[in-house]
């Protein structure tokens, strides 16, 4: 049962959520593809990071660590974009030659 769940995650859920597929090349190598889902992720993160909605939220100027709440949310949003980008960049590019990461 547990094995089936892992297999289901590897074949269906993980690739659907992330746009990333896994390919075997002696050991398992995670490969990044520029697919629509990756850019959809960026769209969602950008919409959240741009503080357009804060003018309707009370307490937008409440200070969090010396920064107004709306600006703090924008900084956190940018940090999430950085993390998402770094996570994608931690995957190999399809253009990379096998064994290049051993250089």
């Amino acid at each position: 049962m547990a094995g089936q769940l892992v297999s289901c995650n590897q074949r269906l859920i993980y690739p659907w959520l992330t746009g990333l597929t896994e390919r075997s090349n002696r050991r398992r190598i995670r490969v990044m593809h520029n697919v629509t889902r990756i850019w959809f992720g960026y769209g969602i993160l950008t919409l959240a990071a741009i503080p357009w909605y804060w003018r309707w939220i009370p307490g937008a100027t409440t200070l969090i660590c010396g920064v107004p709440a709306w600006a703090a949310s924008a900084i956190v949003g940018s940090a999430l974009v950085s993390c998402y980008t770094a996570w994608l960049l931690s995957r190999r590019w399809p253009e990379e030659l096998p064994g290049e990461d051993n250089q």
Partner: protein
Amino acid sequence: MSDQLIPFTPAELVFIAIYLSSLVAIGLVGYRARQENSLRDFYLGGSGIGFVVLLLTLYSTQYSGNTLFGFTGNTYRVGFAWTVSIHFMTSIVVFYLLLAPKLFRLAKQHGFITPTDFIEHRFRSPALNCLTSLLMTVSIANFLLAQLMAMGNAIEGLTTIDPDRAFAGGVIVLALIIVVYETLGGFRAVAWTDVIQGSVLLVGFVILLVLVLHEFGSLTAATQIVQLRSPEKVAPPDWLASNEWASYVLVVGLGGALYPQAIQRIYAANSATTLRRSLLVMAFLPLTTALIAIVVGIVGLAHIPGLDVPDPARADTLLTVICRRIQENSLAGRWLVVVLFSAILAAIMSTADSVLLSISSMLTKDIYGKYMNPRATERHLTLIGKACSWGLIVLLAFLAIRHRDMTLIKLLDRKFDLLVQLAPAFFLGLHWPRLRATPTLVGICAGILVVFGILAIDRMSEADYSKIAGIHPGLYGLALNAAVAVGWSLVWRVTPAAE
């Protein structure tokens, strides 16, 4: 009280002189390390550069004197709305995801040296090549001029002699240092000096944050003062400012990814893995750089009021004013300001040298080598490239000294408006095989016309049309540009071979 730095003592000047001399020494080492007298060796450092060098050269090229002076100054003017700078600097790395993997692979397969090499390989259109080279050169030559002027301004604050002579001396001496180490070692020298300059810049930002918080107190106290005095600078953005935010993310993200000097660094990586790992770290650097500039701007706004009255452009001197305050207070502060000043020079010089090398490569390979002397040998072209760098730096240094009061802020904004017009050629050109040369060329021309049309209306009109509904003119141009390029390519019936 003058806003300028207190003149440095001889010992402090010796420290700065040693730092500058080390750059020339690196140029010499780069000269000795050259493997052959070829364009590839001179402009891309031969077989490629590794992770640390690539990361620091990308970092120090991406973050210029404008990050230190312009970002702190703009935060002073607009308040927390400049948080957008963190977002747009991150978006440059995001757009690299679309560009870097395929471009790197093609560059290695076909031996690209300049950004236009990709355009030639993809479209085989001399007219499109010329337009791309011209557009990139014009956009970044302006940027180089701004860096030279920033060098003059930085040195001016160091001395008690006549400001005009100090400015001219600063421009000439620093430009000379750059062109000497670049002529000696080419890309290798530029990248190696970027390692020192990038490290100094990273340390400088941390020192800046520590000094400012130690000198003026916490960010919370500063924000509370700003909240009382100028609540609009703490308020969330309205719909116009939100549009401007999104516009900045797109225009700087696309334009920054298309900097010719950045594209050449993609070519110069020794492997895709090195490039990928460098970009991974770059994704986080806006949080250590732009964020610190914002904190400094807000603290300055709270504790040094009135700097932007009557002239808003004076807010760009905030960093110098802060340095002077710190210099006055302690010996340790004085020495930290010396390091900080070195970081300022590093930020300016590292961007200037990369831009100079990039322009020189495009003029030499894409214009001289292709149209003026197609039979030139690699050795001859390398020599012409070095001569180009000297000619260009003499011309721009002359312009910087002659027009030292010229306002470049709007011109600097325009570089992104122009660079983004190349986005369809690069981004779509890489990923969409049906894109054709003629529609792309016509699209770029249409985009440029829209940009200059909007700017002309802005100049003639009393109302501000520099951004319509908060959107940069470059994006309106890009919308038409992309529509023409895609629409026409879709109905294009001639086979690529015939084209």
